[in-house]
Amino acid sequence: MLRTFFQYNIKKMREINKKYSTPRIEMSGAVKFSLLILRLYLIFLVALLIFKFISLLQ
């Protein structure tokens, strides 16, 4: 039953990836810039958390 559940959902996730493979929003300069800033922001946060984790281990 668990196997069927995972098989079904993995298949469903693939379908979702295919369905939304092309972003519908118009990729203007402002949109591209905002998404870039968002990526950098998230990388910064992850780096901060890793730093905290390492400093806790030490």
């Binding site: 979702i16 118009e26 998404l35 968002l38 998230l42 958390l49």
Partner: protein
């Protein structure tokens, strides 16, 4: 003798408008009042206890902040007929879609745990065991959706929203000095100077005003309610009423703790209730009932926000108008997240404080993304048509969003590095 019938006919039009508002109202009021959840109540209680009435002016600023952000979800939901999760998938592709969905599920689940912590702590004051509280809450939340009607669920939730206003009579019970409130509270000031601790409190108040689940919840609720483009003005009015009410409740909590517990440090709203019990039994009871209700409202909305998001993306039937048999995955998600979060509170020695802190950290990874997506979606003419943001809305919306992102990020960072602002 004909005075009353005449009066009735004269004001029939107004009455019709009021009736229409009660039909259309819901998502805005519910999301805003549920925003005063267990964590929110604790923040406001601690703010009042620490700084008295001095930060009331800051809370008033939060009315437009909350309104302008949430109003955008009304327009987006009414125009696209899609929840926020689905809208992100559709507009930005699967990478940002999965990121938002899994982040939302995680932060919602952790927040749900904090709601149960608040609810069990509140009823514990009356001698109700955590097990009994959790069983009762799960049964109650099951009953609310059992009917398979959005309308029933919404009206019961609105009733709980009404209980959230208990802090207003509570504030009158402590007989605060109105002149002192007006003098200290309405004049922008930084008590004790602008230091790290004050900054932390300001950030915490902003952080509790806009939470990621609120964007997802209101947009999905607007869609589930079946609101159309013509209903947008009503939805906006509903959101405005909600944002006024949520800040009003926050102010009255500040007045209660600012009057009775001024100058003390409190850790939680439950602790504030217990302290107040010693001085005024009824007031402590009011605060505890309010805390339980706040946790319950939070739990109701957060568990639904997750289920709606999953349902939208996976294409399951995901409406409260569906019976349990018709939307089994949707309701399974609702109950699994609810019960699993509840069970965590019952685990002996569970790191509940750590979970509470972790919520803030995870929230800062999702909130900026969700807000940026919201602004970008509202600016896409292809998606929004004539309902896209005007220049004025963009100036207000972008300023608000940038402000929230900076303050909530600093709040999240200060949770990870507690000595940063000391």
């Amino acid at each position: 003798m004909k005075f009353f019938p005449k009066l009735f006919y004269k004001y029939r039009k107004i009455w019709k408008i009021i009736k229409l508002y009660f039909i259309i109202s819901g998502p805005g009021i519910v999301v805003m009042i549920a925003d005063n959840d267990a964590g929110g109540i604790t923040t406001y209680a601690a703010t009042g206890a620490k700084y008295g009435y001095n930060l009331i002016w800051f809370l008033l600023i939060l009315v437009p902040v909350a309104y302008y952000v949430q109003e955008m979800t009304v327009r987006l939901g009414a125009v696209t007929k899609r929840g926020h999760a689905e809208a992100i998938f559709d507009a930005f592709g699967s990478f940002w879609g999965w990121f938002s969905l899994f982040d939302l599920i995680l932060v919602n689940w952790l927040t749900l745990v904090t709601e149960f912590i608040g609810m069990t702590a509140a009823l514990n004051i009356f001698g109700v065991s955590p097990v009994l509280t959790i069983i009762g809450v799960c049964i109650l939340m099951g009953i609310m959706v059992f009917k398979g009607r959005y309308w029933t669920w919404e009206k019961i939730t609105l009733l709980f929203c009404l209980i959230n206003l208990i802090y207003i009579p509570g504030a009158f019970m402590v007989h605060p000095s109105v002149s002192t409130i007006l003098h200290n509270g309405l004049k922008p000031n930084f008590p004790g100077g602008f230091n790290g601790q004050l900054f932390f409190f300001l950030m915490a108040n902003i952080g509790t005003t806009i939470a990621p689940w609120m964007l997802f919840f209101q947009q999905s609720a607007v869609v589930d309610k079946g609101m159309k483009e013509k209903d947008i003005p009503w939805g906006q009015f509903d959101t405005l009423m909600g944002s006024i009410l949520t800040v009003l409740v926050a102010i009255f909590i500040v007045i209660v703790t600012g009057t009775v517990l001024n100058g003390t440090d409190i850790e939680s709203a439950a602790q504030a209730s217990q302290t107040l019990m010693a001085t005024n039994k009824y007031l402590g009871t009011f605060l505890a009932i309010g805390l339980f209700d706040a946790g319950l409202l939070g739990a109701i909305c957060i568990s639904l926000a997750s289920s709606w998001a999953f349902g939208e993306v996976f294409g399951w039937a995901h409406s409260l108008n569906n019976k349990i048999k018709e939307a089994s995955w949707f309701y399974a998600n609702y109950f699994i997240s609810l019960v699993s979060a509840a069970l965590v509170v019952l685990i002996p020695g569970a790191p509940l404080v750590l979970i509470t802190l972790f919520v803030q950290v995870i929230a800062v990874t999702l909130l900026p993304a969700a807000l940026v997506f919201l602004i970008l979606l509202l600016n896409d003419a292809k998606i929004m048509g004539e309902y896209k943001n005007s220049i004025f809305q963009n100036i207000i919306g972008t300023t608000t969003v940038v402000g929230i992102i900076i303050l909530s990020t600093l709040y999240g960072v200060s949770v990870v590095f507690p000595n940063l602002f000391k």
